[in-house]
């Protein structure tokens, strides 16, 4: 059974949709922190790696799945708050390029700590391995994790939208993303906003960690690294200044790589990164502030 165009199977379509959903979550996690701190967190993938290890080790220790998920959320939140305290705060006044290099260093640091602590080979999160089994929907076999990811991503994004539009914290976050200085003068508390953004971003990292582990239970020190690189490109592609734009950018690049990866034969799909990054460069040249922004140029904070 196939979708009409491109000879795509429903399976590929669902997988691409779920990859798009996960990447959208990661993109909004990166975009939220960028909004308030003007900082692109290269180490986001290592947060996800840490969460994935939490799930894997919980499964090795024989904990029930819900406890593994709780551990994952706890570890990722603790780590992102630690990162905020030790690195983001002291660097707040520096240029975006310096902060990008700093998080690049943190990413490598965390990765080698993982190599040191858990070894190169990796651990298998067998407790959620059952998510890899397919559901039979009207003769089409679709992995459970694909459907779970689509639903979870949609729910998370809806909740975030509610948070941003219906609560005072959300209002403050949006104000800070537009103009941090002015919003502070108008009574927005900087630490609260930054803390909120880091927390929500960490929560999304934990959720993404769960779903990526569901897709691929083999957790290694470079888990999530490739995904983060693609998502970073997607975030810049969509536009960093607005969470919605970043989300759409992440979804687009995830969906595109899912579709292309599934539809192309292996001898062409190995060049997939080249196509994706080529497209990103072209878009950056045409619209440096991103595809889904309203043409408002990225204002560097002085």
């Amino acid at each position: 059974m196939t979708v009409a165009f491109l000879n795509l199977s429903w399976q590929t379509f669902a997988e691409a949709l779920s990859l798009g959903g996960i990447y959208a979550l990661m993109a909004v996690g990166i975009g939220l922190v960028f909004g308030v701190l003007r900082l692109v967190n290269f180490a986001y993938g290592q947060l996800i790696m840490a969460g994935a290890y939490a799930i894997a080790y919980a499964s090795v220790w024989g904990w029930p799945t819900w406890a593994g998920i709780l551990l994952c959320v706890g570890v990722v939140l603790a780590l992102s708050m630690l990162m905020d305290w030790l690195v983001f705060r002291p660097l707040r006044t520096h240029s975006p390029a310096v902060m990008l290099v700093a998080t690049f260093a943190i990413a490598f640091l965390l990765q080698s700590i993982a190599i040191l602590a858990f070894g190169q080979l990796g651990t298998v999160a067998s407790s959620i391995g059952s998510l890899n089994r397919p559901w039979d929907i009207d003769g089409v076999l679709i992995r459970k994790i694909a459907i779970v990811s689509i639903v979870v991503a949609a729910v998370c994004l809806a909740l975030l939208q509610l948070l941003l539009t219906r609560t005072s914290l959300g209002l403050h976050m949006r104000a800070a993303a537009m103009d941090f200085r002015t919003s502070r003068m108008l009574g927005v508390r900087a630490n609260r906003v930054v803390g909120g953004a880091v927390l929500v971003s960490g929560l999304f990292a934990a959720v993404s960690a769960f779903m990526l582990t569901g897709r691929n239970p083999q957790v290694t020190p470079i888990f999530g690294l490739d995904d983060t690189i693609i998502v970073l490109a997607g975030v810049v592609l969509g536009g960093l200044t607005r969470p919605i734009a970043a989300t759409l950018g992440g979804f687009t690049i995830g969906f595109a790589s899912g579709i292309l990866g599934g539809a192309l034969p292996t001898n062409q799909s190995q060049y997939l990164p080249s196509f994706l990054f080529g497209a990103v460069i072209v878009v950056l040249l045409i619209r440096p502030s991103g595809l889904f922004t309203r043409g408002d140029a990225l204002v560097e904070r002085l």
């Binding site: 990008l100 290099v101 080698s112 490109a233 060049y271």
Partner: protein
């Protein structure tokens, strides 16, 4: 050229010469570390020429190094052995071979031309967009070299390339990079680009084309990176996996720790981090220091260097050198101006 400016060139050059002389006096196994260090100096100086002078971040320079590796490597593997390590090589490359010096010159040329072509569109970007776009260049070059077997060995290592990078070739290569970087930053082009780095609006108002100056610096530094790649492949049988994120990380760390604002900073950073890196890597395999057996677990190197880089970025963003060059004490002292600027 005034005499007062001479230390700006001599300082870094003498440091490199000292490292080379030191490398001559040690055992062959220890010498590999010095050779590696000198090649790293070339890469970091190439990075400095663009990042330091323009203030624009580039994650893409390792792509130019990789192209240098491929150019010099493919053209110098002995004809009889090309089939063995590069089974898919295109016909015209199969029977083309050049000498050592020619291969290095071609590596530099390919790096320069490719950086120029890539820079034509990319140099219009700045800030984060430039960072991500140059990262894209690295991804694409890495991806293509990894799978396109008509132009090289793909995933195989460049074994049987003549190992002509001895201590002198490595030192001369690093010195060439330093002289080019010095000549550039003292030229009117370098000054224009540095002016644009400090204040883009004022620089454009004074009639400087920021785009053109960035493009020139990008192409030049691409050429130096290509040369460094050529030196690298003549040093050890390198493969595509070692020309990716790890090398990008370590060379950026060198530049940042040394201080990206000055040539001295680039060289000092490369030497210091290379020394640390060599010592720690050796310790990971077990080493004797004054009768003390040190045996560190694998991965310690990156942890130490990553921490150092983060600490330097937080506490001293202008690096060890503080962005200053060596200069003779007499003459006008402008440091108070810099301080005044920093405090505003």
């Amino acid at each position: 050229m005034s005499l007062r400016r001479l230390p700006e060139l001599l300082g870094p050059a003498l440091l490199v010469l000292a490292a080379a002389l030191l490398g001559l006096g040690v055992s062959a196994s220890l010498q590999t570390y010095f050779l590696d260090t000198l090649v790293k100096v070339s890469i970091v100086v190439a990075l400095y020429l663009f990042i330091g002078n323009s203030g624009v971040l580039s994650f893409g320079h390792i792509a130019f190094v990789a192209l240098g590796v491929w150019t010099a490597g493919v053209l110098t593997v002995p004809e009889g052995q090309k089939d063995a390590i590069m089974p898919g090589l295109a016909h015209y490359l199969l029977h083309t071979n050049v000498g050592n010096i020619a291969s290095l010159a071609l590596a530099a040329g390919v790096g320069l031309v490719f950086a120029f072509v890539v820079g034509l569109p990319l140099m219009r970007l700045s800030g984060l967009a430039a960072g991500i776009a140059t990262f894209g260049v690295l991804e694409i070059v890495n991806n293509v070299l990894r799978y396109w077997q008509s132009v090289g060995p793909g995933l195989n290592a460049f074994s049987s390339v003549p190992q002509s990078t001895g201590i002198w070739q490595a030192a001369i290569g690093a010195l060439i990079c330093i002289v080019v970087a010095y000549a550039y930053q003292r030229s009117r082009f370098g000054r224009q680009l540095r002016a644009a780095r400090e204040d883009p609006a004022a620089a454009s108002a004074a009639g400087i084309s920021i785009y053109r100056q960035r493009l020139l610096a990008f192409a030049l530094s691409g050429g130096l990176a290509g040369l460094a790649g050529g030196l690298y492949v003549h040093l050890l049988p390198i493969e595509i996996d070692s020309l990716y994120l790890d090398l990008t990380f370590i060379t950026l760390a060198m530049l940042v720790v040394g201080g990206s604002g000055s040539l001295l900073g680039a060289v000092v950073g490369a030497l210091a981090i290379s020394g640390l890196d060599s010592f720690l890597s050796a310790s990971e395999n077990g080493v004797d220091v004054f009768g003390l057996q040190i045996d560190l677990p694998t991965g310690t190197t990156v942890i130490v260097i990553g921490t150092l880089m983060a600490v330097i970025l937080v506490l001293r963003p202008s690096g060890l050198s503080g962005g200053r060059e060596l200069s003779l004490p007499r003459g006008r002292d402008l440091s108070h101006l810099r301080k005044a600027r920093a405090s505003t």
